[in-house]
């Protein structure tokens, strides 16, 4: 069924009786060409591009719970392409281009909203770092504008310009950055993959990965064994547990990232604003809630919930930056499980086991990567070649020291990001 305004009108006039499931709920087949472990954003987009670009449809996505139930369903929905290290910048640039055609491609309104992102800076040194970033974005063919203090004030006069602990020097403005409706992204990819023949199998936890003579042969699940020529692990948040089924240890630690949404309010913040000194970022959803967050809770955890010190720190940062949000009430807080890699950048690679591939380590930035992650991973799975936009997300880069992608400069070691 094709979605359109006309269709909505027609259904509305006929009692909304014609709507059909967005995807099927098939029973697992005994064998697939390719099995994807993980029905989150990355797994679903991988399945979609396998079908769309490579004609591979004898594919199953195995999801432990319900599709889109992981981090794609609990993030702060920011989409941007503002990285400055080669290896990252071309990848996120590629991703943003995919975002820009996603609604038409999926025939699903994911509400990708290019409202612009403002990355604030607070010193000469930070401006220099912002300039390095902005220049990289420009050389990548993306957009970036360096705003001075007064230009920033003209855009966002409600920031605290006069009495800030860390004075506002300006911002790096990324007009094509913005947000998208996170759940819709998962559902759109799910519907797109399903309609092309991919089996999305919910409530199907993988309990083992079968390896014979150094080659993967399938998986064990709570719904029985499934044979597969290739297996793709895309289980961010549980990457280490899945990899352990194949006897692997990954360079990943799992941490909590909390986020918050306020009660619905009339429009007051038009952009996405990030406040680096306060580890704080904020935007306002189309429903009117202020959606915001900060840094990790900083302890290994799978609990998907955080604690008050970080909650309060984030709120303090909000009050420091824009005291006009003080009367907004926090409606809900939640936590996601972040795959933290040593250098803060992802891993999309083969493993030492033939036919077994891994896509993990998205740290706290996986949402914006969803289109490109699936796109380049599908390319790798289908062709066994690295996609040109993702040649550096290598699993062995930590061991060799080659191409470490440490955007924050805090170190290619755990717990520094």
């Amino acid at each position: 069924m094709r979605f359109s305004g006309l269709r909505v009108l027609k259904e509305g006039l006929t009692g909304n009786k014609g709507w059909r499931p967005h995807w099927r709920d098939p029973a697992p087949k005994p064998e697939y060409d390719l099995v994807i472990i993980g029905g989150g954003g990355h797994g679903l987009s991988t399945a979609y591009y396998l079908a769309r670009d490579h004609g591979l449809t004898n594919v199953a996505v195995l999801e432990r719970g319900y599709i889109g139930g992981g981090n794609i369903g609990r993030n702060t929905t920011i989409v941007r392409a503002n990285y400055f290290l080669q290896g990252n910048s071309e990848f996120y640039s590629h991703s943003l281009k995919l975002w820009e055609g996603l609604e038409e491609d999926l025939n699903y309104n994911v509400m990708h909203s290019q409202r612009g992102i403002l990355n604030l800076f607070h010193s000469d040194g930070q401006r220099d770092a912002a300039a390095r970033r902005g220049n990289m974005m420009l050389s990548q063919g993306d957009d970036a504008i360096l705003l001075g203090r007064e230009e920033l004030r003209a855009k966002v006069p409600f920031l605290n310009f006069d009495d800030q602990r860390f004075p506002l020097y300006g911002a790096l403005y990324h007009p094509r950055g913005g947000t998208a409706r996170h759940d819709a992204v998962a559902w759109g990819y799910a519907r797109g993959a399903d309609s092309r023949g991919v089996d999305l199998i919910q409530n199907c936890e993988v309990t083992g990965i079968d390896v014979e003579n150094g080659r993967v042969t399938g998986v064990q699940t709570v719904r029985g064994p499934i044979r597969a020529k290739k297996v793709a692990m895309v289980a961010a948040g549980r990457s280490s547990q899945v990899a352990a089924m194949a006897g692997m240890r990954l360079p990943i630690e799992s941490h909590i990232l909390q986020a918050f949404v306020t009660e619905g309010l009339k429009p007051v913040i038009d952009h996405v604003i990030t406040f680096g000194m306060g580890h704080f970022y904020i935007s306002q959803s189309d429903k009117g809630g202020l959606v915001f967050g900060g840094d990790l809770d900083f302890y290994a955890s799978y609990a998907a919930r955080g604690n008050l010190p970080k909650v309060e720190h984030v709120m303090e940062a909000g009050m420091a930056l824009m005291p006009m949000i003080g009367k907004a009430r926090v409606l809900r807080s939640w936590g996601g499980i972040m795959d933290m890699s040593p250098d803060g950048s992802p891993i999309i690679d083969r493993t030492h086991i033939d036919g077994l591939y891994v896509n993990c380590g998205w740290n706290y930035g996986g949402f914006k990567a969803v289109p490109a992650s699936g796109n380049v991973f599908a390319h790798l799975l289908a062709t066994d070649q690295y996609h040109p936009a993702a040649t550096r997300f290598r699993l062995d880069r930590f061991r060799t020291g080659r191409g470490i992608l440490d955007e924050e400069g805090t170190g290619s070691q755990h717990n520094l990001h």
């Binding site: 280490s240 360079p251 900083f298 930590f398 717990n415």
Partner: protein
């Protein structure tokens, strides 16, 4: 979250900073080989369950601590001084 510092007693986690798995105490010899060093610096069991990790009572007594904790429930099961943990 609250951690019982062996020196200071029961304290709010806002007084601590964190360094990850207590594996960091097991520094290999310089000539232990690339694999041992890769293990030490990068690779992790990353357990969903009980783990031992390093906390620093940064705002308090300055002690480094080894905390035994459950990453699924946040239960804190034990805490000892790093300086005594390897004895």
């Amino acid at each position: 979250m609250r951690i019982t510092c062996p020196h200071c007693g029961d304290r709010d986690s806002r007084e601590f900073s964190y360094k990850g798995h207590a594996l960091a105490l097991e520094r290999p010899a310089p000539d232990a080989g690339a694999e041992a060093w890769d293990d030490y610096v990068h690779l992790r069991e990353n357990p969903a369950g009980e783990t031992r990790d390093l906390w620093h009572h940064h705002f308090g007594c300055g002690a480094w601590l080894v905390v035994t904790r459950n990453t699924l429930t946040h239960d804190v099961l034990g805490c000892e001084l790093a300086s005594e943990a390897r004895r």
